[in-house]
Structure formats: structure tokens, C-alpha cells
Symmetry: D2
């Protein structure tokens, strides 16, 4: 019908330029684009009754166990708000770390769209513990207190740290004893798997997590996350919540096939493992530079460092990255699936140069 | 880094099979996929500060006038709920046709996510008029009545009909006199442009529409809609509403470049015009078949018909399509950008065959 | 401590003046004020753990059966929104008459505060039937449709009509078969009991109603309604919903003791029966006046009539009442517990006078 | 019509028993009951168009200045949620102290009913400062962060402390410079006036507060609070918010006349000043008891103290009061308008006795 290669769109950027601002700045892995092309053509039932979404159930069951159910959605905030609503009655609240994405980076969507109160806990490293959970997990049965019936943790965390499987198990066991359900914001769950060297289920389904936001966008997809129900007894009716939360994709085959590309083979590990390795390479390099303080060990694909503000500001003219904490001058350097060793080496050299001019 | 063509995903469907169930069943136009590939590679700022989204502003201003602002979102329900929130205070209500997508097909998202009351009006053909609007546009200043401060119309309508520019102008003028703002659900706005033979702005910006949900998914995109602000004096702060409504895409360049592919040249008209023509061809063919009643003229890409229920049920074993009204037996046949003349002819022949067996 | 009779407040109205605008215009029955004084003095636990609220459970169980639970709230809109939330998941919808108070007179509170979609049905007399219910009770299991999981009916209705117990049973049986729960907006339930000559439970608990908004304000209380759970298996957690919906009174003893005054003896029937009788007297009187059309039989405490608009407008200068329908000129005349026979006779005479001048 | 003194209700408590649990445990001041009786009888327009509510505007203007507008509501949570909604767009957030009533005692109503995110700040004494405000007042213009467009402070605070007028002015000036509006939760504002020896406006309207929740229930009313708009330029449309938030009383004359009784003369000061004096007497008495630590100075009507847990538990068998902090053993002793000197002396003696048995 038409010339398959023609398009009126124009390339408007230099595909050789990469920075350290965010794994969301990266594009799409070629295998993922190829998968989308595979799923194209002809008609497939809309809104999730297509063959790709059906198959995706098998893929997720393989990774997360026989009871897993996969509900593709558009984005991470959507996945989180859908998942949290599924855990809570109208009067429920969620305990989370003060640094949780749902608290600081979702524009109030949990409260505004889900009516969900967040009860936050300060943490040194973005990780909750049973003891920290107890700071907010009280007042059960008292209607004056929004009932803390769920806990949400992030793996890997917004601060670049990791929970071990045992640490997550300690939280789920404590939460379940209190009558709470457990959500994992796993927008970077693959990075955790790569870093821990464990299967995805080892630190989710196998240690009692009830529902999971499984990330794709930050790991090489065009777009797409999956709400994964691990405990179908406790977590029901995601399909209604997804629709009413405006997260039901009509041409869902194209979300599902991307996750098939990611998870059928080892692409999720190749991408995440590579990003982690680049962060490790960067951490090692900057630890050698006098005056740069690595704030937390880089357990996933982020390096957090403190260096003189004017150095950071000069560096930002050469490479994109963000200040994490305006007060302390802490910066965040993220690596992505497409970050290269050469990128790291050049960036580390630039840091050293600018430090030398400090 | 990797083999660009390898993917672990598998083709799971026959790309030669097409039906008449929905324009959402179709896939992605090749020019759109090519555009996505163009925008891939390297890093681009996330969340809409990329070069493609910047350029998209020009594209939309060219189509909708110098004041137009384009806010890409994920899907149609998201576009509508974001747009309607922008028109309403917390106590506002929207007048719409009883057949409006926002009322019957969005799982209650306007009410649940936006807190928006819908005041519906029965219509014969899915189209409001100033007179029909008056059925619900009253009680201004009375706090006991959710204040009807916006009206939402659909172009082309859910019933396959079209508003003329003058008809829309009559509604916007009446609404504005009443102090109401006007939203157009344009998930099939391109079909209207193709059918009316008018530029997009002729029946939107030029006749007083305040905000628009501009559809891409049903017209050959992978996914994506755009909230288009036409009256920036009356419609503000979409950026906050988009985020808090979970409709802010991180890798937005890939939404924007699809719309660039659609709207830079004439792809939007080619796709929509073709779908319309196929509906016209189908309408013409079935009008010749005794016992098939075409319910409404096919002004866009849908044909609505009544035929014996058992005939429809036999037909559904050969081609996918939906009953529109279970009580009357009315069915809907949608054409898409990829429907072929051969598809139409074969389907019309199948209808004739099954009618012959009635 | 202080002079018990002194107050700095001043009487600002003529207590001899009464109209026909609303049973909300009336004040407080003296026995109710006396009950409030009884409950005053000393300390009682706040927020519903007082002795009066404890006793109120017995009172309601006596009227509604052994499983009844009574949750006092502030007002009718609050009672309705709390009750409806208890029946619905986040994606639920309520089927109701187009004339229902929840749809037309609550400022959108069900949608805005409860996120509840209302699916309305036109009715001739404000009463649903199983057949009318079916107009909206469909699409179960389809996430594109807000799930119609509850039905709300009003007894006596906003149009002054009554359901018989059998009519309500027909609705509850049909609804329950469909998996729906049933709410009764009983802001004038006592008027129904007085008119039907049946105990309150005969047309609520005994015929399958799940939850009830039981009205007090319109029947002689200072303020107060009660959410009555009749089916504790299906309706849970009102206590949390009441608090989060801002309907938990701190000095609840004063709400509860008013209902004790109303329901311990026969005050609810005396008040409501009197108001009904006054409406009947008015209906009888105006039926004799040429040119006044009584629109619906006055089965409770309201008379709806059509008469020439200019007559109504002249009458409104002498007595307060409302137009019910601006288009048809229909007016509503409400009687209250304090309406006297002399009031009725004088008003009927005024109507006759003004009609004579038409 | 009926015997004015008869009621079927029964006195169920001992009016001589008072405790130290809450000022909500107290009943109604006799002058307030007398005022309600004054306003009774005859008909008055419902929903706030009555003569008492009209006059109340004068009363509030006298106390708060010529631009003040008074909107009576049912309860404190309702007043706060209505007021905060008036300050915020749909994407707005409120900065408040971690100990704020809106955060810890309203069952999540701000989030669930208003969709409002709360950004909390730990404080030593329940009081914000400009510096503490800055901990959360940032990220303006960034849609990823719920926009902190309002601040809410409590006067007197939940911890029994007071802001001076200058301290409030410092907050409002700083907030206004940041583009934020200021709400005061004044459920105990009269206690502040009595303690500061200043008119109500001196530390509200005169120092830049935009909207106020003015408390009545805790200061001797049957029920009722008032949302007071002090800055009508910045705070609009309370009437719609009040209705849609289920806080519009039908028989509003009875809310309004109570506030007239409170504020026309000096009853608000007599009640609050007395409660404050009783707290002062208690504080003085317990400071003399070895082993009882007064945690914060009793600036209003509450005393916070730490004493051995087993002593508190024995005391609770004699007098009602609450633990404030289960971890530290801190208890709260509230005085009310009806607390007597004899009550205080007996309670202090009981404390001393139980301490002696420690």
C-alpha cells in the first residue's frame, strides 16, 4: 500500500550523544524494535485479548511462578498506582521510604488518582526494614488513622542500593503478620537480578511479595511496564483498576511483545547487567579522583557522588546529569543499556579534568 | 553491541487476517514504525523536553493555529480525562451525549480519576446541539447542582456521524455564552477532516473549540494521543494534569515522532481517508443486500447495520465484529487504515451469502 | 458556672411563619430538643463510644432486626455517599432513577468524593423497577464499563411517591441475582412507614435491602441521619468510610439521643404521619380548585401540581415554595411535622384566590 | 401540638463525671443550648439562606475584618478539607507539621476526599517556621513534584503550644513570597486568643492568613465549625466546595446561632480562657509532684506530661485520658470549658497519690 521506508518525520538529534542523567534518556534496544515489527501487520484483538499478551502470561509464569499474572500498562507511575489501589480499601494507606518514587516523583498521583495516603519513613539508604516499617505501621482498627494496610519498597532503590532476598523476606513476613500486603516498585528490578545474580522470583515471589511493578522502559523498551500479581489470593481485579486508571493500552500486543523480547531470552539481563557494569566502572574510576566522594556503593546502575558544586556545574555543560540534593551538592550519574565503556572513560576523564581545575 | 535483527520474540499471528471489529485491531503504519526508528539511538531528555516534542509544537501550530499547544499522552481515555480536568473546577460537570465514549467506554475514569460528573443527553445520532445542550446546561450558581461548566462532543462520533463546522460553531457559541468551555474528543478527528474535506482547524480552532483530544492510535500509530490546547487563555496547566493523571511518557520522543510522521505530510489524511472510503464501499455494497438495513449514513469509517441476529452470529465466525446494541441486533463494522478493497468485497460477499441462508 | 438562660444570641425570625418549600425549613421538634438537654452535661466519650450511641444500637435493632447496625452521620448527602462507597469497589457504579437526590441534588458528591459513577434511568414517577434496572444493569465483567454493582432507590421518592414492600422486594431479588447490592435513600423513610402503615423493617430489612440512609433532619431533628447496615455480610467497614468521608461527629451523643427520641416511642410516626396528613389535606383541597392539576398522587408529605405560572409567582409572594420543573410549571408543596391544618386551609384558600385572579 | 417537655429519650450518663481525655468529651454550654431554642420554631430557608447565617456574617466581620466571609460546616475535618481544597489546584500539595491533625487524625480525608498530598515536616513543638517550611516548599514548576501551593498551621497546636502573631506573620510572608497560600486549623483558636490576650484577627487576618477553620465544637458548641475566608481574592467558591464535600447543613440556622452565641459577646473567651486556666492550674500542681515531667509549657488547654507508665495506667482507672506517645509514655491531659477547679485539685491529688504508690 505504501513505501515501507518513507516517512515524513525527520531525525532531529545526534544518536551518538549520550549522558548520565537518566536511563529514561536512552532509546529502544534494537531487538525490541525488531519485536514490535514482528507483531505488526494484520489485526489482533485490542485491549489485551491478543495472542502476544496471552503468551506473555507464560513468560511471566516462567520467571515468577505458576500463579503469576501479568497486566501490561503504560508507565511506572501507572503501574504503581494500579498496584497500590489493588492492595487497599478506600481508607488504606501505604508505608514507604521518604525517598520512594511514589512519594517524590509521581506528582501526587497516588493521592490524587488513588486517594492513597502515603506514610513515609526516613531511611539512610532508601531501604525499609521491619523496624523502620514499625514507625508507621500502627493504629490498626482506629478509624482516625488512615489504615496502613500496605507497604511499598523499591528494588533496586531510588538511591542505587539493593535489598537482598532475605531483607525483603523479613519485610514481607513482618508485614503479613501485621495484616499488610507488600508491593515492590520494580522499575529497575532487572538491575537487581543482574546485580544479585539471582532469578527474578528469588527476591519477589519466593520471599512473599504480593504485587510487583515490573519495569521495562528504563531497561531498553520503547515504553511499558507490567503489574505482576504474585499472590492472586490477596490481589484481585487488576483488570478493572487498570482500565479505570487509564492504563489499558488498546494495541496491547505492542507492549506485550516488547516484554517477550526482554524476558524470553536473556535480554533483560544483558541490558541491566551492562548498565550495572558501567556504573561499577564509573564508580571505580571516580573513587580514584581526589575530592570526589562516592556516597553509597553503586549496587545497580547509578553512582551517587559529592563533589564541588562548581565542578558539577562545569561538568553539566559537557554531560547531562542531575543534582540529587541541592543542599549537599550530591549528584546522580545513571548508566543505561546503551552506555559504552568509552562513554564511561571519557566521562571519568572529564570529571578528573574539571576537578583539576577546581 | 548486539545483533540488530535478533529478537527472542516470535510472530504469533497471521498478518494477513483483518476484520471489522475496531480500528484499534489494526497495527502500525510502516511510515510510523520508520519514524520511531529514526528517533531511536542516543539520548534525549525524558518527559517531553526532547527535540521531537519541541518540533511537534510547530507541527500542531501549523494545523491548529498559532496558539495551539500539543501535549502527547498515552491513550484516548487519558487524553479525555486530562483535558476535561483542565476545563473544570472540583465541582464541575460535563455535558455529553449519552453515547459518548467518556460515558460508556472509559470504565468510569472521568468520575473515578477526575471526580467529574457527566450529565448525559440522549441523542438520535450521537450529536449534541445547542438545544440538546440546554437539557443539562442549567442550574448555574446553585451549589446543589454539580456545575455544568464544560461540554464534550465527539468528532467523528461514536455512531459514525459527523458534525459540520457550523454545527460545532453553534455549540461553542452557545456554550461560551453560558460560561461553558468546549472539549472535542477527536480520537477520529482525522476521519472527520478527510470526510469533510476541510483542514483540521476549520472545525475545531476556527469555530471556538477550547481543547481537543487528538487521536493517533486509531489512525495508524503504535500508541499515542495528544491533548491540544486551542484556547490557552481558558485552558491552563495541562502539564501538571498530565503528570498527576499518569499520562506523562518518559521516552516521549517516540510518541511525538509518530505524530510528526502522521501530520508533517498527509499520512493522517491518507490513512483516515482510506478507512472512510472502505466504509463507504462497504455501505454501498450492503445497501444492495436485501434484509440489511444501514442504520445511519457512513460519514466516517464505520457502518452500522441491522440484520438478522443469526446471520450476524454466523458472520462472526468468519470475521470479527461487534454487536452495537444487543436489543436491536444492530452491528458495527469498522474500517481501518489497512482495510483493503479486497477485504470489503469479500466481506460484502460473505454477508450476502449468510443472508441468503437466512 | 454561668446563668443558664442567658445567651448573647438574638431571635431573628418570626416563629409563626411557615411555608411549603421544604421539610428542611422546619425547625426541631420540642421532644428532640428536650432529649438533647437530657444528654448534656458531664463528659461522654467522643466519636461514638458514648452511652447514647451504644443504646441506639438496640433502638435500631428493634426496628430493623437483630443484625442491624446504626452509624450516625451529619447529613443526607453524607449518609448516601458513605453507604454507596460501602457497596462498591473502586470501579463500581450505581444505578438510580434520573430524579434521584444523589444525582440531582448532591453537588456531584458521589462522583467527586466517592469516585462513584451514576447510571441513571428515566422514570415516570421516581420509582425503579426490575425492568428499568435492566436498562443499566449490564456489561458485568467488561472492564470498559464501570461495573453496575449497586442500585439505589429512594423511599419515599423525590416525587412524593411510594414503593410497596413487594415492589422493593422485586428490585432486591433481581439485583441480588445480578450480583448487585441495594441501597435505600430513606431521608423520608418514616413518611413511607406512616403512609404504608407498616413497620420500617417491612419494606427494608425484610425485603432484602442491604444498607439504608435513615433520615432524621426532615422529620423533626436538629440534624442527623443514620447509615443503617441491614446486611452485615455484604456491607462492612462503615466506620472507616464514615471517618474518611468527614461524617464522624465528635459529640455523637447528641446525634444519637435525637434518634432515640424519634424512635424509642412513636415520635417518628407522629411527625411523619402528621406531615403526610397535611399533604393529603392539601391535595384534597386543591383538587377542588379548577385549573390546578395534581401531577402525582400525594403518597407521602409532598404535593406536586401544575397551575398557571403567573399564579404560582403571585403565590410565592405569600408563601415560600419551589418550582419543580421550570419547563412545565410544575410546583412542589412540602408539608412538615409542624405544618398545621390552619396552614393548609389558609394556603388552599390563597391558591383559590390567586387562581380566581388568573 | 405536643408536650414540650416529654421525650422518649432517657438520660444514660452521670453528668457529674468529667475527665481529661478531650475537650470533645464535654457537652454543650447552656447559653448555646438556649440560643438553639431561640432559633427554633417556624420556617427558615434551608442551606444557609436563613436570617441567622446572614447575621453571622456581621459577627465574623466584626472579629476578622470587613472582608471576612463565614461558611458554617459540620466538623473540623470537614472544615479543613473544604478550606484546603479552596487553596489548591488538582495537582497541589499542603506543607504541614508532622503532628498536624490533618495528617494524623483525619483518617486520610485530605488525600481521599480532596486528592491532596500532604508534605510533612518534623517539628519539636508542633510549630512550623519559615525555615521548616523550606524543607518542603520547593520544586515549584516541576510537574514531577506535587506542587506545594499551601501551608497549614494549627493554632493552638496539637501539642498545646501557641504561635505568636509575629511567628504567624513570618510564615505567611514567606509563604506568600513563594506563591503559597496559608490555612490555619483553628479548632482551638479561641484558646489562643484567650492565652495571647489578643483579638482573634490579630494573629490571623492581620498577619496575612488566607483561610481559617474556626472551631466551635471543642469550645462548648453542640457541633459546628466555620470556614472563614479572610482573603476573598485568593480563596473563592467555598460554597461549591462545602456542598460537594458533604458539609452543607440543611438547617444551618442552628449552626449559625451557636456561633452567634459564642461570638456576639464574650462566651468564646470565657469558655476558652477557663479551659486554659484549668490547664495552667493543673500544670502548676503537677510540677510540684516529684517524678512527673511536664513536657511542654501549657500555653492553651492541654498539659503534656511524662510519668511512669504503671502510674498512668492506674490513674486511667480513675480518670479518662489518653497516652499521646506509646513509646515515651507521654500522656495528654485536656481541660474543657466545664472543667472545674475542684476537678483539677482532685485529679492532681490522685496523680500525687498514684505517684506515691509507684
Amino acid at each position: 500500500m505504501t513505501d515501507l521506508t518513507r516517512t515524513d518525520a525527520v531525525r532531529r538529534h545526534d544518536p551518538a550523544v549520550r549522558g548520565f542523567a537518566s536511563d529514561n534518556y536512552a532509546g529502544v534496544h534494537p531487538e525490541v524494535l525488531a519485536a514490535i515489527a514482528l507483531a505488526n501487520g494484520g489485526h489482533q484483538i485490542a485491549y489485551g485479548e491478543d495472542d502476544y499478551t496471552a503468551h506473555l502470561q507464560d513468560v511471566f509464569r516462567r520467571h515468577f511462578g505458576e500463579t503469576a499474572e501479568a497486566y501490561p500498562v503504560f508507565n511506572g507511575t501507572g503501574a504503581n498506582v494500579v498496584a497500590l489501589q489493588s492492595l487497599l480499601p478506600r481508607w488504606g494507606a501505604v508505608v514507604c521510604a521518604e525517598s520512594a518514587h511514589i512519594h517524590v516523583d509521581e506528582g501526587g498521583a497516588p493521592e490524587k488518582m488513588g486517594g492513597i495516603k502515603l506514610l513515609t519513613v526516613p531511611t539512610p539508604d532508601g531501604k525499609l526494614t521491619p523496624e523502620l516499617l514499625d514507625q508507621q505501621a500502627w493504629g490498626f482498627g482506629d478509624e482516625h488513622r488512615a489504615q496502613p494496610l500496605a507497604v511499598s519498597i523499591t528494588q533496586s532503590t531510588e538511591l542505587g542500593t539493593l535489598y537482598t532476598a532475605d531483607e525483603i523476606r523479613a519485610i514481607t513476613e513482618h508485614a503479613h503478620q501485621l495484616g499488610m500486603l507488600v508491593h515492590v516498585d520494580g522499575s529497575r528490578l532487572a538491575n537487581a537480578a543482574a546485580s544479585l545474580g539471582q532469578p527474578l522470583r528469588a527476591f519477589t515471589a519466593d520471599v512473599g511479595v504480593d504485587v510487583l511493578s515490573f519495569g521495562g522502559t528504563k531497561n531498553g523498551l520503547l515504553f511499558g511496564e507490567v503489574v505482576v500479581v504474585l499472590n492472586p489470593e490477596g490481589v484481585r481485579n487488576i483488570k478493572y483498576l487498570r482500565k479505570t486508571s487509564m492504563q489499558l493500552a488498546s494495541k496491547m500486543r505492542f507492549v506485550s511483545v516488547q516484554f517477550e523480547a526482554l524476558l524470553s531470552g536473556d535480554l533483560y539481563l544483558r541490558n541491566a547487567g551492562h548498565a550495572n557494569a558501567m556504573a561499577g566502572r564509573l564508580e571505580a574510576a571516580v573513587r580514584k579522583i581526589d575530592g570526589v566522594e562516592v556516597v553509597r556503593p553503586a549496587q545497580a546502575n547509578a553512582v551517587f557522588a559529592i563533589l564541588p558544586r562548581e565542578v558539577s556545574e562545569r561538568l553539566q555543560k559537557r554531560y547531562r546529569f542531575y543534582f540529587w540534593n541541592e543542599h549537599t551538592g550530591e549528584v546522580r550519574w545513571m548508566c543505561a543499556f546503551d552506555t559504552t565503556e568509552a562513554d564511561i572513560d571519557a566521562f571519568a576523564e572529564a570529571i578528573a579534568e574539571e576537578m583539576g581545575r577546581a
